[in-house]
């Protein structure tokens, strides 16, 4: 069984390829010479202390920032050349810090993730309804379809943002600190939900987080950053690594590891 899984992994397509990427904000280096890949089926946790460049890396992968050096390929194409983003879902940092009075129902917010459906014709509307309900069911929020997004709790809003990100059935889901400000019990359910999306829906996940506890919860790969890539590999090996110990002790003295 283990051999079969390993073979499946080996054959898995590379969805993200980060190639010798460096980036600086106004001359201040944030990331230096980062290279790694995210393969189909992986659940990758991107860890690192504050200011280690985790969010910047995610924005570079999404094409929201351009690297100063190196390049990024998504689904085997340069990130700049990808116009159809339906296969990529994204939940940004502080996604739930929205205007609480924004007049949008849960249904409308999730529907925003749909790029190709035409809601003004009857068939398109039916298809859109089915997709929205399906995505909300995946995150356990179907009964809140008609509620205003601002009336939900932070944890519920986060689930709606996940539903928005997966409504197109993406191959890749990128999340930036999705559990910030969410109570511990909700965090537990949240990680379970992500694990299920990864295993049962075949969604490859890359999750930026401060929460080192994530390595015990469903992830199978870890990338640890501290402006450079200090670790990239399986989560089992990460738990035995110096990078892990450094991160536990405060994360300010992370050392380079053999990659």
């Amino acid at each position: 069984m283990a051999v079969k899984t390993a073979e499946k992994r080996k054959a898995a397509e590379t969805l993200v390829s980060v190639e010798a990427v460096s980036f600086a904000y106004s001359g201040h280096p944030v990331l230096s010479d980062i290279s790694f890949e995210i393969r189909e089926g992986e659940f990758l946790a991107v860890l690192g202390p504050n200011g280690s460049g985790k969010t910047t890396l995610l924005k570079l992968i999404l094409g929201l920032l351009r690297p100063d050096q190196g390049g990024i390929r998504l689904m085997n194409r340069p990130v700049d050349e990808i116009s159809d983003r339906a296969s990529i879902g994204y939940v940004p940092q502080k996604a739930t810090h929205i205007d609480p009075f924004f007049p949008a129902s849960v249904r409308e917010v999730v529907g925003l993730g749909l790029s190709s459906v035409r809601p003004w014709d009857a068939a398109g509307k039916k298809k859109e309804d089915a997709a929205v309900r399906g995505a909300l069911a995946q995150v356990g929020m179907e009964e809140h379809l008609r509620r205003r997004i601002g009336s939900l709790s932070g944890g519920q809003q986060q689930r709606v943002f996940i539903a928005r990100a997966i409504v197109n059935r993406p191959r890749l889901l990128l999340l930036d600190e999705p559990t910030a400000g969410v109570d511990p019990e909700t965090v537990e359910h949240f990680y379970d939900m992500l694990g299920r999306l990864n295993r049962e829906e075949d969604i490859t996940i890359a999750l930026v987080t401060h929460d080192i506890g994530i390595v015990d919860r469903n992830v199978n790969k870890v990338a640890c950053l501290n402006r450079t890539l200090v670790y990239h590999g399986s989560h089992e090996e990460f738990c035995r690594s110096q990078a892990f110990r450094d991160l536990l002790s405060g994360g300010h003295h992370l050392v380079s590891h053999k990659h």
Partner: protein, 269 residues
């Protein structure tokens, strides 16, 4: 009294007012959500400079107002994108320079006269058939853009970063929205004047945004508030002998206040 509404100039006033009111209401929803509510106010001050330039140069005042407003809209976008100047600061600079230039040009042209006052306070009862056609074209264009680009526009207003990551060209949409606002402001000047045109962009949309619980509802309520304000304001002007522009804006405020109270009673209690 009802036969008054059969008069051509009143019909034109009503048609132009309703069409511009609807265009403003739709645009206003997106401007407020983007925290750009005062852009109409700023661009109307710039349009005033264009009008004064036209009166001074004895060229089409509305045409020049349109050109100057579009240039200012472009400048606003570039100040924000390239120079890193905050939106409200950029607007403060552009609008005050526009008003100052207008005052200087009006003084040079010795044109503090009826035509300038017409642009300052609106001349809804002197709307020409050509201006009604322009207002109809604008309203249709604005509604068409919103229908075709509904999802990207809502996405941009809701969360620009998620919109960008989803492939929405947020900068291009924002520039288009600003340019459309400039055109609307110039045409709206004739209806309610430089000083009050931004009210049509802000008040009905603010009412819609506070009263609705979903996005389409916000747009529809904004349009309804604009329609009632223009028709009611015009009627008040006619029957109570009030200035039309002032009556339209004050009525829209009363509707906004009423919706605010109703919303508080039904939702927050």
């Amino acid at each position: 009294m009802g036969e008054l509404w059969t008069l051509g100039f009143l019909q034109r006033a009503l048609a132009a007012g309703l069409l511009l009111g609807i265009a403003c209401a739709v645009l206003g929803v997106f401007l407020i959500l983007k925290r750009d509510a005062m852009i109409g106010h700023g661009l109307s001050h710039v349009a005033f400079a264009g009008v004064a330039l036209g009166l001074w140069a004895r060229l089409l005042p509305l045409g020049l107002a349109l050109a100057v407003s579009l240039a200012a809209a472009f400048l606003l976008v570039k100040l924000k994108e390239r120079a890193g100047v905050h939106s409200d600061t950029a607007l403060g600079i552009v609008s005050s320079v526009g008003m100052a230039t207008g005052i200087i040009l009006a003084s040079l042209a010795k044109s503090y006269n009826a035509s300038l006052f017409g642009f300052l306070f609106g001349e809804i009862l002197a709307i020409t058939p050509a201006e009604v056609a322009l207002a109809a074209g604008l309203a249709l264009f604005v509604i068409g853009v919103v229908v075709v680009r509904y999802r990207p526009l809502m996405s941009m207003a809701f969360h620009p970063e998620i919109a960008k990551a989803s492939g929405v060209r947020v900068e291009r949409l924002e520039a288009g929205l600003t340019a459309l606002t400039a055109v609307t402001v110039v045409l709206g000047m004739k209806v309610v004047g430089v000083l009050l045109v931004s009210a049509l962009l802000v008040i009905p949309a603010a009412a819609g945004l506070r009263a609705a619980s979903h996005f389409k509802g916000a747009i529809l309520i904004s349009c309804a508030v604009a329609v009632v304000s223009v028709a009611g304001g015009l009627a008040a002007a006619l029957y109570l002998d009030l200035p039309a522009s002032g009556a339209i804006v004050v009525l829209s405020f009363f509707i906004f206040a009423a919706l605010l109270v109703l919303r508080r009673k039904t939702v927050f209690k």
